[in-house]
Every structure is written in structure tokens, then in C-alpha cells.
């Protein structure tokens, strides 16, 4: 994925790839949990804004995880 893609998108996609070994529902929860525990509030807010505006570059698991962070 291009470095022009925002860091939050690149990061959550690679987190989703890592948790790809889990069933989808568990993966969504694991990605959301990781972001909740380890991301700065500014990055969480920016992620939600990015997800709200465009999900083309996002892994579906990442989109669903972002939904749990609202």
C-alpha cells in the first residue's frame, strides 16, 4: 500500500492482517481492542474520520473494528 495512504489506515490494515487467523467476529474484536489499548486518542479520532469519509483502502475487518470504537 502506498505511503500516500494515511498512517492510521496503513496501521489498522496491518493489524487486521495479523489477526486474520481468527474468525471474523473475533478478529474484529481483537483489532478494536488493540487500537483501544495502544493508540493515542488523536489517532483514534482521525481513524474514525477517515473511515467515515472513505473505506476504499480499508480491510473489511478494520472497518468493522472502527465501528466498535465509536
Amino acid at each position: 500500500m502506498s505511503l500516500n495512504v494515511p498512517a492510521e489506515i496503513r496501521m489498522i490494515n496491518s493489524i487486521a492482517t495479523h489477526f486474520g487467523y481468527l474468525h471474523t467476529e473475533q478478529a474484529v474484536a481483537a483489532v478494536a481492542d488493540h487500537v483501544r489499548r495502544f493508540w493515542d486518542p488523536r489517532m483514534k479520532r482521525r481513524l474514525l474520520l477517515l473511515v467515515a469519509s472513505d473505506t476504499r483502502d480499508l480491510d473489511p475487518v478494520a472497518v468493522a473494528a472502527a465501528g466498535l470504537l465509536r
Binding site: 500500500m1 502506498s2 505511503l3 498512517a7 496503513r10 496501521m11 496491518s14 493489524i15 492482517t17 495479523h18 486474520g20 487467523y21 488493540h34 489499548r37 495502544f38 493508540w39 493515542d40 486518542p41 488523536r42 489517532m43
Partner: protein, 330 residues
């Protein structure tokens, strides 16, 4: 007061600085303007901040962006502890007074106090006492105890007053171990026609990290410059011979250094160290990082290498791009 939320990691601090939401940084004993990937991005971030404070032994590359520079102290001037990779806490004792007239910790305490958070200690042993009071695995550690036994491996507490040479002998902290799959998460970095080689960077024994300390010693006799190691086949394809000056370019930047033709590298892979700011190997490395900790991906950067003809050096960046593109077509 410390906020309960996690903070930004270093690469994310740079992004936030450029966005304008991260405005100040206190850098203590680290040279991020040379050590971190995509140096141009780092420099843009440092330039965007309202306040950069650097405390270091030397005027390093980061210090050039500092609004305030505070003198650091060498280990010979320090009274405290070092904890090594086997969790062993050792005392270090000063053999001379700090040349700058003040202990590093005292400088930090004075700044904190001036900013409204009083930090007053008479001796670094009191700081260790505070660490022991707040950190369960250090609960039994103190300067007095270290002076008595020499060194201690944490965890050191009521259950293990002598420290813990081997951890998890009978069980893990959580009880039984838990196996977790760690699937391979491939990098997004790809070699292309424009950038067909993979650059990996590393260290050499005689220099330490960015060389801020070791470049100022006689160690430079062993390693006077960063060299680009390239396989003979890759060198021949590009008309490069041993000792030639070459350009090293990636998607984020370019630099120049001398080539060392060597079969230590496989074809398709080139290698260099990052000890000299004049080379600035991290000018070409990217912000790609691992999923869990955002540790930069210093080992995989798609690059192109070309002879740095004298004529190229006199051209502007766009012209250099054109020359490189023409060479690729050739």
C-alpha cells in the same frame, strides 16, 4: 498528571507535528534526525514544532533543530544504575563531577519544577526509591541493597528478595503458557522496475548506532565512511566498480556514497550502515513498520543504485530523476 490514554509513538509524533497537533519535544540522548526512517519527514516534523529541546553529550543532527540545547553528561560523570539485557540492575558510580556543573537528572528536575511539577531529590538513590515504590518488579531494589549485593536481576520483591536469575521456571505470570499464532504480515514495500533492488541497513562493530559518540573517537580508523555493498553482478549491470561514488535512491529520498563490490550480498540486495550523517542512509528508508509496535522497517527498502557521474552532481533533482529513468530504460 499522566493521562490514562496511551500516547503517540515516535513515527506518529512526526505525523502529528506536521499536522500541527504535536508542538513540542524533549529529546534526551537520541539523534532522531539521523536514526529514524524517512529523514526528510523527520526534519519537516522537527521544523514544524514550536519547541524542540535536546539534551545530549554532543551537538548531534537533531540538536541543529533545537530551540534549547542542554548539556548531557557521560557515564563517567553519572551516579545511578544501568540495567542490562539480562534484567540485571548494576550501580554506576561517577569518577568525576559533571563537566557541565549539574547532573542530568537535576536539570530535568529543575525544568519540571519550573513548569509547576515540583521534583526535588537530594540524591539519585531517592529516585530509585520512588521507582521501587511504583514498580512492583523493582519493589526490593534500592541503592543500599545494590551496594550490598553488587547487582540484582528483577523481579526483586518480597517473594524474590535476592532477585530472579531465571524467570517463569514453574509458570508464567498468567499461569500456563498460551500459544498464539503469529502469521507473517508481509511488507507493503515492493521492488519495481524503477526501484529494483532491496536495501537493508545495519551496524558495524566499531561504530555505535548513528555514531554520535563513536565517530568522535579513534574508531573511525576502522570505519571511516558508510559504504554501499553491492553484488558483483548488480554492480556490473550498472557499470559500477569498487570505490565508485554512487547514488542510492528510493521512493522517499536519495543520497550518495561509495560502492563496495562484494559477494557478501546476494544479487538484488544492497547493504549499508547508518553511522555517518553525511551519508544519511535513513534519507532513503521509508516509514513502513510492523503491525504491533511500529518498529521501522529498516531492512526492506526498494531502491535503485546508479553511478554518480560528475555531470549528475551538477544537475537539479528533476534532472537526476530523468537520468536515472533513462538508465533504467537502457
Amino acid at each position: 498528571m499522566l493521562l490514562p490514554e496511551p500516547g503517540l509513538r515516535i513515527p506518529n509524533m512526526f505525523d502529528a507535528a506536521i499536522e500541527g497537533t504535536f508542538r513540542g519535544l524533549f529529546v534526551h540522548g537520541e539523534d532522531i534526525a539521523q536514526s529514524d526512517p524517512n529523514v526528510q519527514h523527520v526534519l519537516a516534523a522537527l521544523g514544524a514544532m514550536e519547541l524542540v529541546v535536546v539534551q545530549d553529550l554532543f551537538i548531534n543532527e537533531t540538536a541543529k533543530f533545537a530551540h534549547v540545547f542542554l548539556p548531557g553528561a557521560s557515564f563517567l560523570e553519572k551516579d545511578g544504575t544501568f540495567t542490562n539485557a539480562e534484567r540485571r540492575i548494576n550501580r554506576v558510580r561517577a569518577v568525576m563531577k559533571p563537566k557541565n556543573g549539574m547532573h542530568e537528572w537535576d536539570i530535568v528536575c529543575r525544568i519540571a519544577t519550573a513548569m509547576g511539577y515540583p521534583m526535588r531529590y537530594d540524591h539519585p538513590g531517592q529516585i530509585m526509591d520512588e521507582i521501587a515504590a511504583l514498580t512492583p518488579t523493582f519493589a526490593g531494589v534500592s541503592f543500599e541493597r545494590l551496594d550490598e549485593v553488587g547487582s540484582i536481576q528483577w523481579p526483586c520483591d518480597d517473594d524474590a528478595p535476592q532477585g530472579t536469575p531465571i524467570m517463569h521456571v514453574d509458570a508464567f505470570t498468567r499461569g500456563l503458557g498460551r500459544f498464539v499464532p503469529t502469521p507473517f504480515v508481509p511488507t507493503d514495500e515492493r521492488s519495481t522496475r524503477r526501484y529494483p533492488l532491496i536495501l537493508t541497513t545495519g551496524r558495524i562493530l566499531s561504530q555505535y548506532n548513528v555514531g554520535a559518540q563513536t565517530r568522535r573517537t579513534a574508531n573511525i580508523a576502522w570505519h571511516q565512511e558508510d559504504l554501499l555493498e553491492i553484488h558483483p553482478h548488480d554492480a556490473e549491470d550498472r557499470g559500477i566498480t569498487d570505490g565508485d561514488e554512487v547514488t542510492l535512491a528510493s521512493r522517499v529520498g536519495r543520497t550518495k556514497l561509495r560502492a563496495k563490490v562484494s559477494d557478501r550480498m546476494p544479487t538484488g540486495v544492497v547493504y549499508t550502515t547508518f553511522h555517518y550523517p553525511v551519508t544519511g542512509a535513513n534519507v532513503v528508508t521509508t516509514e513502513n513498520s510492523d503491525w504491533a509496535t511500529n518498529c521501522p522497517e529498516y531492512k526492506v527498502t526498494a531502491v535503485q543504485v546508479a553511478l554518480a557521474h560528475p555531470v549528475i552532481r551538477e544537475l537539479d533533482e528533476r534532472a537526476v530523476d530523468n537520468v536515472l529513468a533513462a538508465e533504467l530504460v537502457d
